[in-house]
């Protein structure tokens, strides 16, 4: 039965993966400028960005999804369930990712930038060649963590009727009446994906490994 249900579950898995990648990607695109503004911006920009970050870290994802899908149409903005989920996941993830990037940039230390400027680099070159490569390494571990969180939380798309892994599972259950086996299979697929994600990022981290960067990590 597990074998029989696999093709359908894998179809759901594909949607889960899409939700995760698009959500993470959207989060990344928003998080980069937000974290920059928080580190390098003026007082107003910093204030706005930290408000943004705090707000979206405090709203439960499910509430955010409801707001986007059911709330926004009231003011005339309507999204399909899948798009609503990507937006919800992306906005919330952007709050966490911006915190990760901000922490990573700040942990590089002012002295590095001063030294870069002192040999004649422009502020942009200092960031590109000195700050960014170090911040990247500081952000990998917490970012991997965020990756798996978005992956798992994409299951909340269930609530808006998006046919992802979990909902495919429950469709199968409605005809087979085997919730234990099917949900366990879903759980196993999530586990497998999370492990692979960690493995992949672990590999990237290893590739970028440099003496002196082993222990420092940004808290999430």
């Amino acid at each position: 039965m597990v074998i029989n249900s696999l093709p359908v579950l894998l179809k759901g898995t594909l949607v889960t993966v899409e939700l995760t990648i698009l959500g993470l990607g959207l989060g990344f695109l928003i998080a980069v400028p937000v974290s920059f503004a928080q580190v390098y911006g003026g007082r107003v920009a910093r204030l706005i960005c930290s408000l943004y970050e705090r707000t979206f870290r405090s709203i439960p994802l499910l509430v955010l999804l409801m707001l986007v899908f059911y709330g926004l149409p009231q003011i005339g903005i309507r999204f399909a369930p899948f798009v609503s989920c990507v937006l919800g996941l992306g906005i919330r993830s952007s709050a966490y990712q911006s915190q990760i990037f901000r922490g990573a940039i700040l942990s590089v230390g002012k002295g590095q930038t001063l030294a870069a400027l002192s040999i004649g680099m422009t502020p942009f070159e200092s960031f590109r060649y000195i700050v960014f490569p170090q911040a990247l390494r500081f952000s990998l571990a917490p970012w991997t963590n965020e990756f798996t969180i978005v992956l798992k939380d994409s299951s909340m798309a269930y609530a808006l009727g998006v046919v992802e892994l979990l909902r495919q599972g429950s469709y199968i259950i409605s005809t087979t009446y085997e919730p234990m086996v099917i949900f366990l299979t879903c759980a196993a697929i999530y586990l497998l994906m999370t492990l692979s994600a960690n493995k992949l990022m672990g590999y990237v981290e290893k590739k970028l490994q440099i003496p002196g960067f082993e222990t420092k990590e940004v808290s999430h």
Binding site: G111, A115, L117, S118, I119, G120, M121, P133, P211
Partner: protein, 251 residues
């Protein structure tokens, strides 16, 4: 004609209400080494940082070989001014070699081969050829500071600024850094050095500048300042320094 490399004119800097520099003027001629001493919080670091515009002064001018340094041309002018920090500030993600050559490659746009050759030359001058492939975390403090000096020298600066280059070092590592600096001074480099290593000052300084509360209190050749300072404050400060540090770290 003796060429003036660095000219500072009536430099002032405030942080909020606090006047940190209250009008500093000084000159360093080609090949000269001038040493600035003075109590903590006096504005010595601020003065050096104002020279290459890591800190923007509120008033006054800084000229390098007659050309004024402004916030507009700062990043060009900084290439001609080597800066050595108290806490090294080596680029943590780069090897010693890459620390020294990154400026040559990214700023001066030299080819990798050319940059590598210059960088290795500079590393060997500070006695660290063997450590070229090591990362900062694998170097001792003294070695880090010598790499930092090589990094600054690789850019072929007209002027070297040192901000207490040995005060973050364990006593047994100070000598190796000072000896590099002494060689450099003797080789004709123009240097402005904040340090409390009086042995170094006595050995190579052409002039000692005693600064306090944002002003130059007294300046003159080491022989005069050390044996017969004109101001009581200078005398008191030197006595305190000698008690704190002992005097001769250089043989």
């Amino acid at each position: 004609m003796i060429q003036v490399v660095l000219k500072i004119e009536d430099l002032k800097k405030n942080y909020g209400k606090a006047e940190i520099l209250k009008g500093i003027s000084l000159e360093v001629k080609k090949g000269e080494t001038k040493v600035i001493i003075g109590p903590s919080g006096t504005g010595k670091s601020t003065l050096l940082a104002c020279v290459n515009r890591l800190v923007e002064p509120d008033h006054g001018r800084v000229l390098l070989e007659g050309e004024e340094i402004t916030s507009r041309n700062a990043h060009k002018m900084r290439q001609k001014i080597g800066y050595v920090f108290q806490d090294f500030n080596l680029f943590n993600h780069l090897t010693a070699l890459d620390n020294v050559r990154i400026g040559l490659i990214k700023v001066q746009k030299l080819s990798k081969e050319e940059a590598t050759q210059i960088a290795l030359e500079q590393l060997s001058k500070v006695g660290l050829s063997e450590k070229a492939s090591l990362y900062p975390s694998q170097l001792s403090g003294g070695q880090k500071q010598r790499v930092a000096i090589a990094r600054a020298l690789a850019m072929r600066p007209k002027l070297m600024l040192f901000d207490e280059p040995t005060s973050a070092l364990d006593p047994e590592l100070i000598g190796e850094v000072l000896s590099v600096m002494i060689d450099l001074a003797r080789s004709g480099m123009t240097m402005l050095v904040v340090t409390h290593e009086l042995g170094f000052a006595r050995t190579v300084a052409d002039e000692i500048i005693f600064m306090e509360n944002g002003l130059i209190v007294e300046q003159g050749p080491p022989a005069l300042i050390f044996s017969n300072p004109q101001k009581d404050r200078t005398r008191q400060f030197l006595r305190k320094l000698t008690e704190l540090y002992g005097e001769e770290r250089i043989k």
